[in-house]
Symmetry: C3
Subunit: 437 residues, 3 copies
């Protein structure tokens, strides 16, 4: 199985993200659905799990859909000083409709800017309180003259559905892997579109895999927080039973070094596989203990579910200056970084594929290898080849308790180097898989 | 709840200890009872658990009471060379009465001094063998002329009681804390009176606490070893069921750095609370693994009980030169050190108060904070305040398995900073306490 | 119990190994039996467990016996260029009989030499494929002229028995120790004869021990691999039930520093005892994690048995250049190294003897020591002697869960220094042994 051309895929991902960038996505509504439609060009059909507005999901209520058509502020001289035509970020997400004349002083209470990043337009939302507002560069805000302003937001909040998109790549075993990303931020690149790009293209690689994968992959596109909560409300029980590893895929498009944030339990297969791949990659990376800020891992790792879900990122949400501003754009994200991130997630998936629990079929004394053609027939050679050492190691170590990644970690060998030897021993009926559970 | 004036309490403790210093305390008898009477000025009534002489307590027999009225040695010239009037330490504790003329050679077998501390008078006892003796400075002993001496000890050993004094500060839960100190050494300050001073004044602070404490505190004054054994003989079963943490309080009056000696199990709540407080105190301290020499922790941590009892000291009994000599006096002990030690034990008590086990009431997905007024209503701010981080951490971490000190240790936060957030979440029914056991 | 004269025993072991060196041992046959007969001079009668050729033992078939009488190659000029008279290594072990004229080119396929060790004759076997061959120095091989050669091997493969020799030194408890070594290599010293020398002389020391040992020692001499498999096939169930520690004894004759290879489980009594002895020996040593290459530990530690068997060696099989060549001779092995290795294994045996699990008979509070004559009668001395500290430590630590080696490791004391105190407490009925299991 040769590697795909990750550099080329990186360029394709960047191009697709560039097309998705202008859509005014929010938690629910047309632009969200259009984004999924566009991603289907890569993945094929995406199943839509629909949750009606008003439905109670755990402690939350499914919000209405939001449609935004136009939003601007006109200054005292009648000229537009802020216009959503320039960037979706100008209007606070889920703003109610308004059309009003208002003094600058009163307007200020509805304006958001960043004094320390004077050129950046911040990203703000008002999902759970009916309100309205505008975001703008602090440099612009400071220049606003006193006087009467006209504010106009042509939006609509109406019952509809929150939707979760899902691509399932079926495997041959009962064990499942979750790849979860979010698709609710308008016009942000690293902290939004990089995730769906990696998940969609990884879904494609897994769908095309020959042979088909051992594990079932659930590739999930959600509006952040509420989407994960909706998905867990419907499928949480299933995940608790079947999920062997999972990742929240976000912030994977910038060229910073990798960061792995552990699952809540800290030593799940998700963690071991990611750290195994990172450790053998030669790349520099840092490891973060779980903490319940960040993204949807907060829901997957809530104590009632406590799923084995971590997150491999580049620069994490809380560490890059462009986060949640207009500076998080398609220049911050590079084709090369996207390609490298895809490679890393792809390797993790392959490590998970190899991470079977195996046990020897002949546990009493060593099996005799030479009659099976697995051992040099003239004995007593001075040193063993690595393949031979791997074989003897696996025939001793595999007692059904640990998986092949743990085997590799025990002796400092990458699982992809042990896997061919394991397959050979499976074919000779010297190893057998241990059933899940 | 503002801090008490520890400096002032330190001065009061020093003054009270100075009053108690001259009494010729021993395992049992009038001076022991008088000392308890005096301490009642601080604590209010102290309950006396009485154990009659001759009663079998585990492997031990309760000793008689000892009364000492006079003890001296006259030299060949008829002048007193040693006289208990100068210090109680001159007479070996529990010496039988004697009045005899004796040669210097024979007398030597009943004399105790310290060749390497020529000016110090050692402290010796003969509790479990009927004998007599005198302690004196080696410098004096060396000058004794040959000849006939007159020795006189007017003492009495008579059946009576060993007494254990106890102040119980009742709490609202079934869990208990033991604060044990000893009161059987005549005229020693750090390795005796510093302990009862801290325990009595801490008992007072806990009694006056508003609101009353969650935990029940047993403040216990014993004659060392036999008193702890008596107490365990009567209450050991109760302690095994209810004790959540305990400390032997001794050697807390000198200005040396703190030393924490772990309980036998090594990682009990007693240990975690003490190390949590020390670690966040900024003070320098050392940590000692449990070892079965020292004081009454030997009884509380005997393998059949194995109670969660450690000991926070300053200079430990085995490391300061003045230990068990006349140099362990009210100059070695300072008001400032007593005040600092009280502060540290008081903080430990408050850490124990906060160390509830809590669990989230909504374990599936995050609870929604904004409708409860616990979250900023305009989302997507770039960074969270510490209080917000604490709240999200507690709502994720609290699954009923660890207590709030463990929560703090997980993220490097002092429990007293987490506690207000925990209280807020308890009030909003987002957390609930886990029953003990 | 004074130490034996290990230096003298080292000289005796070297002399005996020198006598055994010339015998053409292989897996089974007369020289193997003769070697056992010779070793009986040290150990007394060795029981022979016999396994008939053709019998199935787990995945293996017991091989035939091999007799080798003569083996040589004559060059084109009719002169012998290789002759087994010079060294047993010249003929590949288990070669079938042959007498044939053959070209140099065809002969080359049956020749084995070491290009990078031109003067060394390698050691090769063909146990499990009917074949023949010669081993020779690469320097000689390179000089062989083209032409026709005459090869002659007068050997015989015939049904008989694989034999395992066993000396049992009976102990007073149900727990057993395995000392396993191998005896199937012709004319090799460190990687063969050093092991049987240590095991036989240790068996003798244990047999002569006064009092007799607490543990039962099984001293086992096997042909490598197949012998261990045969032994496990017959006695593996017994060992699983009774074995408390075991060692594969090999490569213990060279003067290199010690190497301890852990058992598969890594922290068994075998490991703790060996590391305890090495750690307190002052000798330099290294510790190797278990790996399933090497010697018969591969069988004892196969996952179905997973016995507590490690291996204390000097230079390990895979690290000394002379391994499996004619250079592994009686000059590589020294009397002094043999004596030192015997001392180390003897100490390990004595550490195992001392490694009882003990529990206090009076677990509630401390027992009173002075009435038993175990404590100074005049109390409050400033420091305790080490013996006194040991006593108090054991009376607190011994709760029946750990053994005396673990007790020593807890406080950094060698078990042989704790053992006399433990015996004293056993005699005073303050400690008692905990039954095995």
């Amino acid at each position: 199985m040769s590697d795909p051309d990750y550099a080329d895929l990186g360029r394709r991902m960047h191009a697709l993200a560039t097309r998705l960038f202008p859509l005014p996505r929010s938690l629910a509504g047309k632009p969200y659905r259009q984004s999924l439609d566009t991603i289907e060009e890569v993945t094929g059909p995406i199943q839509r799990h629909r949750f009606p507005s008003g439905e109670q999901v755990f402690d939350w209520t499914v919000p209405p859909e939001w449609e935004i058509r136009e939003a601007w502020i006109k200054g005292p001289d009648g000229r537009k000083v802020v216009d959503m035509v320039d960037t979706n970020l100008h209007v606070v997400s889920y703003s109610v409709p308004i059309h009003r004349r208002i003094s600058l002083d009163d307007l200020q209470e509805h304006l958001f800017s960043l004094p320390h990043q004077a050129d950046a337009i911040p990203y703000r939302t008002t999902y759970y309180r009916r309100d309205w507002g505008f975001c703008l560069a602090d440099r612009v805000r400071r220049e606003l003259p006193a006087g009467e302003y006209e504010v106009y937001i042509d939006s609509e909040l109406a019952d509809g559905h929150v939707e979760v998109g899902e691509v399932v790549v079926p495997g041959t075993s009962e064990e499942e892997v979750l790849l979860s990303t979010y698709l609710c931020h308008p016009s942000m690149a690293n902290n939004e579109l990089s995730g769906p790009m990696i998940v969609s293209h990884l879904a494609k690689l897994l769908t095309d895999r020959d042979p088909p994968p051992r594990l079932t992959y659930r590739c999930v596109f959600v509006p952040e927080t509420i989407g994960a909560i909706c998905y867990l409300h419907r499928f949480g029980g299933h995940l608790r039973e079947h999920l062997t590893a999972g990742y929240v895929v976000t912030c994977v498009g910038d060229p910073g070094p990798f960061s792995y944030k552990r699952s809540r339990r800290g030593d799940t297969l998700a963690d071991r596989a990611a750290l195994h791949v990172l450790g053998h990659s030669g790349a520099s990376f840092r490891v973060l203990d779980y903490y319940p800020a960040g993204s949807d891992e907060r829901q997957y790792c809530s104590p009632g579910f406590d799923l084995p879900v971590g997150s491999l990122m580049r620069s994490t949400y809380d560490t890059f200056a462009e986060y949640h501003t207009s500076l998080d754009d398609m220049e911050l994200v590079t084709a090369e970084a996207l390609g490298d991130s895809l490679r890393m997630y792809h390797r993790i998936a392959e490590a998970l594929e190899a991470a079977q629990r195996l046990e020897v079929t002949m546990p009493y004394g060593e099996p005799q290898l030479s009659p099976r053609g697995l051992y040099p027939t003239v004995g007593a050679a001075k040193s063993l080849q690595q393949g031979m050492r791997d074989m003897m190691f696996l025939l001793n170590w595999c007692d059904g308790r640990g998986d092949l990644i743990a085997a590799g970690d025990r002796v400092g060998r990458p699982v992809w180097d042990l896997a061919p030897t394991a397959r050979q021993l499976l074919e000779h009926d010297l190893l057998r898989p241990v059933p899940h559970g």
